[in-house]
């Protein structure tokens, strides 16, 4: 078994990205809590991790699970578009905020596929594994999600 690098390395290299994934998946408000849950879960499990070769994919997969927990806890589907638009007024980060809001408004599966692909930079196979579907279904969700996004932003 390869030796695990100090956990701090994972934070230094991937924390920003995991936060971006979570902002896409649960929105800016929920992202902070989901971020804490993601890294605490990772820290708990880390010493017994057997496959240290794709630590980034591992973290993004945990983040995805925490995003699902977040949605389940709130007992509802993705945020309705109206309320997201209201948030935009108070959004302190207008640069990529608009895109993430559009992402946040996507149906859950498309939203997950888009964030895992672009914020998480995961290949289709890993997105499929994280979502528990076939690579073909993952590709379709991604495709549908992007189509909607283009319409939304244009």
């Amino acid at each position: 078994m390869a030796e695990l690098p100090p956990f701090q390395t994972l934070i230094d290299e991937h924390a920003t990205e995991v936060m971006a994934v979570l902002r896409g998946a649960v929105g800016r408000e929920g992202a902070e809590d989901a971020f804490q849950e993601t890294f605490l879960a990772a820290l708990r499990a880390y010493p017994s991790l057997r496959e240290p070769h794709n630590l980034r994919g591992w973290l993004v997969t945990i983040a995805h699970r925490k995003a699902i927990d977040h949605h389940r806890a709130r007992g509802r589907a993705p945020v309705p578009v109206e309320s997201v638009r209201e948030e935009a007024v108070f959004d302190p980060d207008p640069d990529d905020g608009q895109i993430w809001q559009a992402v946040a408004a996507l149906p859950l599966k498309q939203r997950a596929a888009v964030t895992l692909r672009f914020a998480g930079d995961l290949p289709h196979e890993e997105i499929a594994a994280a979502l528990g579907c076939s690579p073909e279904a993952a590709r379709r969700s991604l495709h549908e999600g992007l189509k909607r996004l283009r319409k939304e932003i244009a």
Binding site: Q8, A15, M19
Partner: protein, 188 residues
């Protein structure tokens, strides 16, 4: 890393500490010789790397030997940093911070406990050290108890010198050893 991550990461460190997940917390500390790396476990200070040591290699070594849950957590090392600062200023003659001895075993552990007991401003020879650790012929092993001391300064291996009175070697360089002995002579 962007500043927007500072707050979430600070909270993460706090929660990790509260949940007992900080197996090894580390931080850097200033010294007149350059930056030091301090690492502690819940039991106490376990490692101090001198300015000439490779930080990444040191952290990787701790991850392998103690636990991969190695996190930068400066607040966890406030006491250690303060005591060292006082020591370099000549205000502190004895360290009171808890020590975790887990990186030392057998003869080396006995020898290093012996080093920790050498009073401020005094010196012992490698032969003295070997004898005190229970094997007077193990002078060479006493040498490596010093040269590979995981917690230099706090376990003051700079106070162990050659029988002819010359300082002998030091992991941080002979010049550093001379300056430490000089500091203790002046402040002692």
């Amino acid at each position: 890393m962007t500043t927007t991550m500072d707050e979430p990461l600070a909270r993460l460190r706090e929660r990790a500490a509260a949940e007992g997940l900080l197996d090894v917390a580390y931080a850097s500390a200033d010294s007149p010789f350059g930056p030091l790396l301090l690492a502690r476990t819940p039991r106490g200070l376990v490692r101090l790397a001198l300015p000439n040591e490779d930080i990444e290699a040191t952290l990787a070594d701790l991850a392998g030997r103690i636990s991969p849950r190695v996190l930068e957590a400066p607040a966890q090392l406030d006491r250690e940093r303060r005591e060292l600062e006082d020591y370099f200023e000549g205000r502190r003659h004895e360290f009171e911070l808890p020590i975790d001895w887990q990186l030392s075993h057998g003869f080396l552990l006995r020898a290093r406990r012996g080093i920790a007991a050498i009073p401020y401003g005094e010196t012992r020879t490698y032969a003295d050290l070997a004898r005190a650790a229970g094997n007077e012929r193990a002078v060479r092993a006493a040498g490596s108890a010093c040269s590979r001391n995981p917690i230099p300064l706090v376990v003051p291996c700079h106070r162990v010198v050659r029988s002819d009175g010359t300082p002998g070697l030091y992991a941080g360089g002979v010049e550093m050893k001379k300056r430490l002995l000089e500091l203790e002579r002046r402040a002692g």
